[in-house]
Amino acid sequence: MTLLLIASLFLPLFPLSIVLNGALTTLRHPAARGAVLLLWPQLGIGLLQIAQHAIPPYFVPWALLTSGLYALRLLTVRDMGRWAGFLATSGLALTWALAAAGADRVDLHLFAFWFSLPPALMALLAYPLTRRFGAAYAGLQGGLIGHLPRLSGVLAVTALAAVATPPFPGFFGLLHVLQVLDWVGAVAVLAIWLIWGWAATKLMQGFIFGAERMESDADIGRASTLAFAGMLGVFIAAGLYSTGGGL
């Protein structure tokens, strides 16, 4: 049980999730944030394997509650780094639903990866924004689409990946979660998914559209754009490959 509780620090459940988000806030370097987002949940799944303990039934509602709370919190957060952390927390908490249903180790690792890579990319994307505008804060510098079209494009697609829109693997992972939950749980997950979409729209509105207060016109380079696009392309392909067989 202790191991399970420790695992709930890494597959964050409220209030233990505060640790992950605190760490993300403290870390300044975007690469470090990205690395934490990618590795942290994988440690949690490793602990679950070690625990060899059946997951008590109350963990699933606890996970749904955590996911819902962080989804709602997303609606009011404008700092992109924090937003990525909260979204990851909200998504990763759902791993418990799969784990409770007895999903195998690989599925769990992949699920955690589907919900941590896009937030990690968003944490990285906060860097060019911070460098240009002093902060990656929605609403402070709107109208990026007109001046920084490449950055806007990458940002929009990454946000879509992060909120599990098809054909990104998060979407198929979410379908898997719906399959293992009862109808009440499924409705709750759908509601959470809806809130993610709403929150992402609000965030993008604050960056890509919105009022224009440009202080920098330098877009990200072609190489960076291609790197992000390539990563997202591979992400989709990997998702389709690994989830397609399972469905």
Binding site: R78, D79, T130, G134, A135, L140, Q141, R213
Partner: protein, 1039 residues
Amino acid sequence: MSLELGRRLNIRATVHVAGEPIPFFWPMRTFIHHNPLYGLEHLPFEQAVSEGERLFHARGFLPRPIQQGYLASGKIDLVALEDQVERFLAAQPDIAGLDQRRLLMTLLTEIEKPIGVPPSLADAADVHAALAGFALPARKIDDAALAAQVGADMPPGRPLYAIVDMLFGTEIGATLDELVIKSCLDFFDEGQSVWQMPGREKGLFAAWTAVAQRNLRLFIRGLHIKRILAADNTPEGIISHVMEALGVPEDDWKNHFACELTRLHGWAGFIRWRAGAKHYHWSRHYPADLVDYLAIRLVLGLALLREHAQRKGLPDTLTGLARFVEAHPAEAYLRREFHGGHVLPEMAHAVEDAIAAPRGSRIARLLPQYLARKREHEAKGLAAALRRLADKAGMTNAIQRLGPEDLARLMSTLARFEQAEGRMWLGALEARTMDRLLQGMDLSQPVQREKRPFAQLMFCIDVRSERIRRHLEKIGDCQTFGIAGFFGIPVSFIGLEKGSETHLCPVVASPKNVVLELAIARSVDEQAFVSSLEQVLHELKASVLSPFITVEAIGLLFGFDMFGKSLAPLAYSRWRQRLHPNKSDSRLLLDKLSREQADSIIRSLQRALIVKAIVRELGLQREAITDGMIRELRETALGNRESSTEFARHFNLDTRAESTFIARLRTVYRIDRGYAQMQMERLGRIGFTLDEQLNFVGTALRSIGLIEGFSRFVLLVGHGSTSENNPYESALDCGACGGNHGIVNARVLAQIANKSAVREGLRGQGIDIPDDTWFVPAFHNTTTDRIQLHDMDLLPPSHLVYVDRLSSNLQSATRLSAAERMPTLEPESDGVDPAKAYRTAQRNASDWSQVRPEWGLSRNAGCVIGRRHLTEQMNLEGRVFLQSYDYRLDPKGRLLENILSGALVVGQWINMEHYFSTVDNEHYGSGSKVYHNVAGRFGVMTGNLSDLRTGLPAQTVLKNGVPYHEPMRLLTFIDAPFDLARRAIEGVVKVKNLVYNGWVRMAIVDPETGICHLYEDGGWRQHVMGTDSTSEEFKELAA
């Protein structure tokens, strides 16, 4: 409660005065180019631009990087720019050891990013420390300073909701705008909506009140409109009530009203224009004015504020807000920083958390840290900018050596300089263009022609006429003239099958005379079939349910239309044109009618209506009725005889049926004595007396200097444009004809000038038009450059042999002109042959996806009022208005005064419209056409809900996002002796103000002395023009 009359009048007057700076917005059907700052033309140009910045939040000059691009491409005169900097520095304090001239020139020409507004927290000592790399000196910023910063954003008159939005991040302003726009769309709709707003005939405020009180959506949102409206039943009373409820001191009402009205200045401008347009059908039937509009805004604004106050505990009076700022200066400051867009980005999250926290302790903890960081940020930012500037100027050490006092002086100078740099760039841009034009002008005396030209053509002064005039003059033996496109005849025109009058003259004039177009012959059946089909399609699309079925049933037809228009626009448009019957030939009714003639016209109209009534009401055929029966029915309806008509007896109508029919003739078909009398009065406005006709022709010819040497053909070329799917089509038409095609005015003048009685009269005035001279109206399509001759059936047989030569000349000029224009529209068409260019131009005119069918008047720069000889050898690239004028025929300057008050004023409006639409397309222009939607059939909005977009779209003035139009004030040249021209300028108050306030750059080119007189910096300066040299000598003259 109802206000006293005096009080109400006072409020009305205040609202109207507050609305003065808002420019009129004409319906898009007749787009009128106008100065967006027309209401501020009484101020000097720069002052008006600053006021425009304040009122409309718009930029008045191009940003520096674009100006630097102009400088690099040689469009800006560097010497003139340096001269401007010198003049600026003359009024600035000296700073020892610093070459300010070099520093400022470097700032202008080598630094793209402005240094920006002075810092709000950092002072010169801080910047000095930052420059030296030291820590910032310790300094405490007290609450009073913070409150003062917040107070600076709360000037008297700023609406309370705007301040609440700024401090609390609410979006009351945006919501209010949305609600107001929806209300306006409902009321002002001109047939776009299928279901109309009820009660519109009672006026805007009354109709809106009736609907708003029953509006469930508003009620659900918590907006208790009813309670506010209960205070008074007049808009003035409501305005007074709301202003008192908000606690706005009465002295600030005017400013407050101005802020409210300028917030949606497109709608306010439309309402302002509409209220004064007495001839406008929609305003006559559905009246509205700014007072109604303002009352609605204020009611909704107060309701929204109260709703927020109730829900979130925000202040809903000015006093309450002032108390809040006074009691919580730190919170107010941080709120303003965050919601007002001033927050330090890296602390945005911390500030947001602090102001959202219920306790003030977080704010108290955060504030010192925030102030310190922001002060440091500002000081370092400014120091870095100064260091960059100094490095570029090679003055790094000089800047480093400055003490805090000198640094403070320098910072103030730089701030003032960046405020003033726009006008410096503008002056230098104008100087280069003016210089080029002056150098190209031929000041020698024109050589007398040996024989008369083959044809003379009178074109509109429009800049688009210049190209085709130049080609015509080169190709054929043609002489061309420029005259305002309405040819000096203000006409109120009623076209074929049109029920309303169109004013064909500049909007500054109101025509007294009506010209009626009458058909010679027409195919009624064909016409009826096509119009019925169109009517049916329209009904199917517009009704509530039928579109569901229409899509299934005939959707494919529309698909065919779409493919045709998209894939082969030119061929498809020609095919479609063949479906429509040709417009029947017509004549214009130009002569005044005698009483008998008018009586006869009314009689024949009444007869036609009676026949229609019999066919419609009784189902009888025309052939069953005799003229006698119709006459008898008419007399009965007019009350000249008792009933019991032959008609009733013949068709066995009993007395009751007969009386009912006669009553319907009176009420429905308006066959009654009163209406006949009204028709008689209206007919009295038709046509011109012989004296008027003589005067119009004589003045037109004298004003352009054509009183002898008439050719066989004198073409009067009106102009207009054709394009598809383009709400701005009329912006490309003739501005002098009120945004309409100019062909009607050309036909009117030609018809008058060809009359023998008129020519006889003209001979008496010394204008001897030979018998073989024939005035031919023609239409210049500026999109395709095609010139089409009209009324050719009236041409004397003796001229027919020359028509081929005339047509081929016109066609060649058309193609050459298209070949010159097309590369500017489509870069890939560089070097196309003229025929291909012409085809491309035709395609542009019929392509519904073409957002830029032509450049219109973009790149207009100058206006030359003088003989063609002056500019005949120059390629003016379609950038100059050319008004023909011969001062030798105008010893008193009266003709020049007319030209200045008409053509120049219209030219200046066009010029300013382009200027402001270019320098700030989002605010003064209308943004991209791609997002436009037609609103209510009279305007366009961006997206589905926005202010009415005024000004020109981006596609008209920008190319690839950068200005295509070079924004400068109209450079006007008058070819006349200095004293005569100066007297004429000073003789027209409007023109005098435009020139002396710097809205127009004026140069008088004196042909008798060869000296050019420029009006600059409040005085006339001489510019001695050498024939082969560019040397200049300026002498100050007493203004």
